[in-house]
């Protein structure tokens, strides 16, 4: 079946450093969503990317969708302690089914003050 892998599995940074997580799918995607899960919390929707090569920004967060629509990245500039959590990409494929998500393996971000 379809697999969605993320690297790195874990990243520890000093506050103010940048952070990037990469998401790779074994198949071409219709779109990709990103979620953040704080420790002890639930996944919270951040953004969705649909178009090939799309780039979207949310303040210090930059999201990219690859040209082949098989990979994506999330980059955080100048991390803050509030950025701590696990970042999941989640893939969708349009095939007549409901908007079922295939979650990536996740990247846990730790930020040291």
């Amino acid at each position: 079946g379809q697999q969605v892998m993320q690297i790195p599995q874990y990243q520890h940074v000093q506050e103010g450093e940048d952070f990037t997580t990469y998401c790779n799918s074994s198949t071409t995607l219709s779109n990709i969503q990103w979620y953040k899960q704080r420790p002890g919390g639930h996944p919270v929707f951040l953004i969705q990317l649909v178009k090939s090569g799309e780039v979207k920004k949310q303040k210090r967060l930059t999201f990219q969708f690859g040209e082949a629509k098989k990979n994506s990245s999330l980059h955080i500039t100048a991390t803050q302690t509030t950025d701590v959590g696990t970042y999941f990409c989640a893939a969708q494929n349009y095939g007549g089914a409901t908007n079922k998500l295939i979650f990536g393996t996740g990247t846990l971000l730790a930020v040291q003050p």
Binding site: S30, H42, P43, F45, Q48, L101, L108
Partner: protein
């Protein structure tokens, strides 16, 4: 505020004793999902309802069942919990079959098995 509510937040049950987790939503979304999330892992979809249509994932054990009596409520029943079923159970909702619809998660129920 419109939201997804899961009860209870924490549930302790005995090995083999049936347990039911509940989820309610005020978003009026027609799709409801149940995920199992174990420590340091991604949420794993167990099944979902589109309106009253039940969609089971191929690898969901028969031990797990679900009911959706109306749009607002959905239940997860674990008939004979084993130690391996200890996990966080997340309920989520989504709007229609359309692509690009975010899922809205509840706070989850953390299930412990004694």
């Amino acid at each position: 505020d419109a939201m997804v509510i899961q009860n209870p937040r924490y549930q302790v049950t005995q090995f083999g004793k049936p347990v039911t987790l509940s989820c309610s939503q005020t978003l009026n979304h027609n799709v409801m999902y149940w995920y199992q999330q174990k420590s340091s892992q991604a949420p794993k979809l167990l099944f979902h309802y589109y309106d009253k249509d039940f969609n089971n994932e191929a690898d969901t054990p028969d031990n797990f069942q679900s009911r959706r009596p109306n749009t607002s409520f959905c239940f997860l029943d674990i008939r004979s919990p084993g130690l391996g079923d200890a996990a966080m159970y997340l309920c989520a909702t989504g709007n229609d079959r359309g692509l690009g619809q975010p899922q809205h998660f509840g706070d989850g129920t953390r299930l412990s098995i004694l």
